[in-house]
Symmetry: D2
Subunit: 388 residues, 4 copies
């Protein structure tokens, strides 16, 4: 097959941000397994992230997590990243690891704790100035474990109040994206559990506030592409956190659990203009490589997004509209399936080579010996994980 030029143009501008924390250790409440070579510093995380871009050309930006990636001099960190060929991307706030946040942060019943959480975000905005980041991503662990533990209703008002204070400090070119999540770490109620809540909260703030859709943060059976279509229609889809899941927020490699779902999501992105040149949608990974190697796990992930984007772009939308309007159920479905089942990998390999990239990034990276090298070099110190 040949990939049409229009598709190649879209692919040429596709950027998938990678998260610095994907290179550190992660795990479950039962165990976090370490691996030789795991980064000890943010600089080592950036070095690993730069490998992903080097072999794929897809991941020019690295998202940071504050305070996990705190440094004294962000301008210097930015130069360090640029020397590696990558930029610093979205700033992720963190209000779930301080003891004071046990019962909430931006939604806490105590105004002093809410203010502390607001202040953390203001610090993040300051860092964004130094790193040149556009987006502040807010995901809240806020919620409760038992009915009656907190006031569901009051916390929505406190959330609005806290977000307003943060929003007020955003620069002209800066944005806030508010992520929703069905559950975890809270097991009864979560303060931002669904797209509806995220939407009404950001809509009340203004146009610089948008929704962040994490593909693993929905109730079982949720039609995610519907939400994508709806948020694009409302002009409020700010960013994606890509990953995949079989059960809960499993944070597996994007496309690993249900490749056809990823295809349908990306098709709605295409339909809704989310890959157009002026699209406000940021694409980002948010995954946990608990048992697999991290750098190749990230390479695999950005390739999955790219390959599935190519398939989604193959859909003949005129033909599709004709079948849809004619009530041709099987015909319309088969137009989608034909694109999905098309093996775009050989054509993408060729195109990659034409741009000076390896045909098979996974193999090229494996052959580079990078993992063995970092395993040897990175001895001592404390491996990065969610705690630091």
């Amino acid at each position: 097959m040949t990939i049409p030029q229009e598709t190649l143009d879209v692919l040429a501008r596709q950027r998938i941000e990678v998260p610095s924390w994907a290179y550190g250790n992660s795990g479950t409440r039962f165990k976090v397994f370490g691996t030789p070579g795991t980064p000890r510093t943010v600089q080592e995380k950036l070095a690993d992230a730069a490998q992903v871009h080097k072999y794929t050309g897809l991941a020019p930006d690295v998202a940071l997590h504050i305070p996990w990636d705190k440094v004294d001099d962000y301008a210097e960190l930015r130069r360090f990243a640029e020397d590696l060929g990558v930029g610093l991307g979205t700033i992720n706030s963190n209000t779930f690891q301080d003891d004071v946040y046990k019962f909430g942060s931006l939604t806490h019943s105590d105004p002093a704790i809410r203010q502390k959480a607001v202040d953390h975000h203001l610090e993040c905005i300051e860092i964004m100035g130094a790193t040149g980041s556009r987006d502040l991503k807010i995901w809240l662990a806020d919620g409760s474990n038992y009915p009656g533990q907190v006031s569901i209703r009051a916390r929505q008002d406190w959330l609005h109040e806290s977000l307003s204070k943060i929003y007020a400090q955003l620069g002209a070119e800066q944005r806030m994206v508010l992520e929703y999540k069905f559950f975890e770490p809270a097991f009864y109620h979560t303060d931002v559990p669904d797209w509806g809540t995220s939407y009404v909260q950001v809509a009340a703030l203004g146009e610089k506030a948008m929704v962040c859709l994490d593909t693993g943060h929905h109730a079982p059976g949720t039609n995610i592409e519907f939400i994508v279509a709806q948020l694009l229609r409302l002009g409020k889809l700010g960013s994606f956190d890509f990953n995949s899941r079989f059960y809960a927020d499993d944070d597996l490699i994007v496309g690993a659990a249900d490749p056809f779902q990823l295809f349908r999501i990306l098709f709605e992105v295409v339909v809704g203009g989310g890959l157009d040149e002026d699209s406000p949608v940021a694409f980002m990974l948010d995954q946990c490589h608990n048992v697999e190697d991290k750098v190749p796990g990230q390479i695999r992930s950005v390739l999955n997004v790219q390959e599935m984007t190519a398939r989604a772009l193959l859909v003949d939308r005129d033909e599709l509209r004709t079948a849809q309007e004619g009530g041709d159920v099987l015909g319309a479905n088969s137009i989608l399936m034909d694109a999905f089942y098309t093996d775009v990998r050989p054509a993408l390999a060729e195109w990659r080579e034409s741009r000076g990239l390896p045909a098979d990034p996974m193999r090229a990276f494996a052959e580079s010996g990078y993992l063995a090298r970092i395993a040897e070099e990175r001895v001592g110190g404390s491996q990065s994980s969610w705690g630091a």
Copy 2:
């Protein structure tokens, strides 16, 4: 225990609308079982519904379904109902049983079919004038079974366009409530699948359009009381369709599957002012008595709502706030649980008697011999069901 006067005041004004179709036959795609005495006409449905009010004092209004309950003269039907001691309530539209709606109604890609569906709603509004109904309830079966079958995105726009035409015809005292549903009868995508969609659609129309929350229409694990709290906060909770479920939209008796969930829902109603005198929230049953007797099934249902309301009103909200703000997780939870575990039934029986109602409505109805009487009298004709 003694029920506080304040609680009794709320109970005294509690009204739970019953649906005319609950008295006809219903079932699954596998089988609809008939029962002797099932109504053949809307008048017989009203007669059955009036029994519910007679024994409980809780159900003064009966919702109609158009065209199932179509008559030539609605003013006459209204008088007929009033003679039975009940009024005519919400008008439910139906756009899922005509062959032309196979691929959608208000969201259909064909403008002529959309207009036909709009016209059906305009007819409903006309009927509302004659019946004195305030609310037009719209639940759409619209959706698709296969990816690609229809344009998810375009249909949202068509939905807005159709709803706008209907909204424009609402009288000054009339309202529209838009019901959402997770899935069924569509098995891939549903056009109004969640509260977020219903909210954004009604918010775009104006203040006479509100959300209808059916307690059986959510994804597994959804925290429904959160949605109740959110919609009340947004001023957009127009009505409840009560029922309960273990799996999908099982349409079981409200409170039967998870009584504690019903308690939590009603507690958020209390917190959010949904039982205040000027509350815009309408309470209604929407159930299917597939295997149990229908009139006692309805009596059981309105009693369940009443009993659980009484429990929810027992919560000491001042004490609760203190425990919440003190981070006393177990204490706060136990305040809720104490109310839930309190047996309000004897006190409600006494109160009922003080108002000239039977202490035990279930028993009083059973002893009335009504079911035997209608089984004997209603011979011949065609028993009512979803088809008519």
Copy 3:
């Protein structure tokens, strides 16, 4: 790509049974849509089913449903089918449409009703003699809607007793397969809700009793391929009912909702010997074409199974074992994904042609004009559906 000879050998003996009821109308509790040309008789259903085999070479057997497909002379029906080029397959019993079965059939608390249900199965066994069918498939709608309605525990014993009576009448070459289902039409408890129950019931009977796995009958998130592997290991996987689902028992076209899941299921079939020459596993469709055309819906379905089988057979299992034993998570996964993403369709088209079949069965059938012909010819009479 070239499909290896070993794979072609497996494909050459692949048989996927089609159900007679797929050609009649089906729908939801809300509406059953009719279509011009829908069969009015079992003979017309067989004629439609024969089209599937004619264009794909994959579906030489047609399953019957008793009493929907009752005739006076089954030997004559068998000859009728053979003249059409197909045989009569699995006999499906039906104990969910008689009024006496409202509260159960083989599990009913009344011994007389249990015996009536047993007798129905004995009649089915008699029919099997005349049709030459090997398998009696039992799916029970038995269950309850409300806690307390029936005795969960007693009904397991009654079920065992009833099944024993049926089992005792099986001929030497006949088998019984017991299907389980998570829920529907019962909404609280189901008497055979999971593979464990089906397994312990058939294990208590003997080696002619096996489990039937319907791919749409599991709780959300269930790993179906695990169950496939387990039942094959236990020697108790008797048959598949293929279809797909997004939510409940949606009965969509197999492979339509989650093609990768179908791939994983078929891969475990391959691993467990389920496609070996002497395999006891019967493959069958059980679907509802509510909104799409039925004959092409069935053609699409058997092709989906064939294509996915081809992909599953492509997995290099030696290489896979090496990666698995080396703890190479990404490597092992990519071996599976490579097979899944391989476009086998062109090679299958060629192979099909080499066997005198159309390269594109969907197009060939469409061009045959069959649907238009039956729409014209089949006028009057009563279209078949689940009721008859």
Copy 4:
């Protein structure tokens, strides 16, 4: 109300084992919050556990987790516990925290790692001799995160082989209980995911091997009381791990999320003889008090089980059978609901006092000042958690 003597007899012999690890810290992958006074040693855990028994009379045994509770001298630990008024109960093995178990333990493809895991269990059996424990509880984290990562099929055989080796070393009075879990920490496949798998594995071993049912380890919507009834019928319900959940394995306080479900479970226990004098069923808590106080959390939990047991015992089973056999759906259901809604707490308080226990154990414990005392005394050292 008065609680019947028969019920009191059952309650008098009710024992609910508490887990040593409930008194240490626990949390999610995001954060483990510490609390002043958290035990640093197994002795301190036992001291806390003894409080639960002191105030409730319900929890005479404490389960241990090896290696978390490893000591040099188990006989001494046993005496230590006995001095506190409690005994040592079930021994829980742990094969999920060693690095070698990253890809499995009893199911690992490497025979040396399987043997290491077997050896750990043999060590547990040895400890059981010294502690006087009857039960070895095996819960395996074994599974995989990605399709293809491991051989689902081979691991079942390896599991059987490993369990056989352990089973062979059980003493005459010792038992093994095998716990199943839907998912977590593995996110694609789990080696013992459902009761069916646990059942077929223990059935293959012999009568000393039974199933452990953890109430939080099922797919959404699973009817747990059905599984209870089935396992009791099969004589294979060895023990319960009690807790509750809204979403996944939330490990909340038993009865907190769905009290009616707990009622239904205990009713099936009653029906199936699980509370009879010679019942083989062990009752145990397995919870995580992430945000609430741990000792009162445990007191609340055992009281919840007791109160719900009392309600389940109130059901008039003769009356129920009559209603069931008469097809009286609403009547049968209401017999269950009447028992559920009966407020047994005052009668239980009285009965407790009659046995020299505090009427209100929660208040009595709170007033004892125990939490403040341990917060003051237990300074320094390392607080216990899942890591130790």
